[in-house]
Amino acid sequence: MDFLKKLVGQKQPSSRDVAKERLKLVLVHDRVSMSPQMLQTLKDELIAVISRHLDVDQAGVQITIGEGNRLVADIPLLPKGDRRTH
């Protein structure tokens, strides 16, 4: 696999960059005391609540904890069948 990647000139990210990304992610969850599993549960519950009022594009929903400890929910909606956008 590594050989193939080298052959096509695809560079592996350095272990330094991997460490940095892993750290950032783990700290996001540490800082708010919320595991990725709990975040998934929150996402499912949010979708359930909003779906009572709106048609949610469930596959596109993104719930993340971002810079400055902000919970960011990106919830795309499905267009209504009778008011389809062109």
Binding site: S14, S15, R16, A19, K20, L23, L27, D30, R31
Partner: protein
């Protein structure tokens, strides 16, 4: 100047807290300051061996707190420096023998006799850490360029802030510039960006540390050692002096890349 209580902690074990405490004690004493180092790692004391004073222990921290001896009887005077003392931890007692209030009272008792009280904290976030943190005027967090150590440092920063202490300062220990350069180690810039606290020292990975610990002579006594210089520089920064960070290859590389980026942009 009134006494400054400086607590050295890390969360993770084995990152160099005790080595840092010993070397900052020596470095501050070399600057002519009156210094006492207190080992609060009850049951797992080590500051005594790193400072090379292990053969002279009679009484310890728990003896002082329990009133078995006077404070002066428990403090060991370093023979190489006239104003450096060690108050060792107890080796055969439980860590619950001392509480945070005892530490605050102890430091208050020492305040007229010293310029600096350096507290070597045990690893972890439990009672021993709480004891070390309670009397602190300043907190220094030691970390190494590893995911586990940086993660624990982040947790400690949160606990220090929750205790309403001033924002802690960071010491990055065991940096290997050549590994950073080839993309196999977190750089000082990476770590600062992630932890978002002020840096007070960068200590390169240096074989001299092992040799000096073998001998019980802290590396800060060695004028030609890069780690020794790094520790002496931290002491000067603690004193409020502006000391530029040693030029590690890593930083040069970073700035070169930055300049390149700026030019491209």
């Amino acid at each position: 100047m009134s006494v400054q209580v400086v607590t050295i902690t890390s969360g993770k074990g084995g990152v160099g807290k005790t080595t840092t405490a010993a070397n900052l004690g020596v470095s501050l004493a070399l600057l002519g300051k009156r210094v006492v180092c207190i080992d609060t790692d009850i049951g797992l004391r080590n500051l005594d061996v790193v400072m090379g004073l292990e053969n002279r222990i009679v009484y310890d921290l728990v003896d002082v707190v329990e009133g078995n001896c006077r404070l002066r009887q428990a403090m060991i005077k370093d023979k190489r420096l006239s104003e450096l003392y060690l108050l060792p931890a107890a080796q055969t007692r439980d860590k619950t023998a001392v509480g945070p209030d005892d530490m605050v009272a102890l430091c208050a008792q020492m305040k007229d006799d010293f310029d600096y009280i350096l507290i070597d904290s045990p690893a972890g976030i439990e009672q021993g850490f709480r004891n070390a943190l309670a009397p602190a005027d300043r907190v220094l967090i030691v970390t190494t360029p590893e995911v586990s150590a940086v993660r624990d440092a982040d947790r400690i920063i949160g606990l220090v802030e929750a205790a309403e202490k001033p924002s802690p300062k960071l010491i990055i220990n065991r940096i290997r510039p050549e590994m950073v350069d080839r993309g196999d180690m977190l750089s000082t810039v990476d770590i600062i960006e992630i932890l978002a606290i002020d840096l007070i020292g960068i200590v390169p990975d240096d074989e001299d540390i092992i040799v000096s610990t073998n001998r019980g002579v802290p590396v800060a006594f060695e004028n030609n050692s890069s780690a020794g210089t790094a520790f002496r520089n931290i002491a000067r920064r603690i004193e409020g002096e502006e000391v530029p960070f040693m030029a590690l290859k890593d930083q040069a590389g970073f700035f070169k890349r930055l300049v390149k980026l700026v030019r491209q942009g």
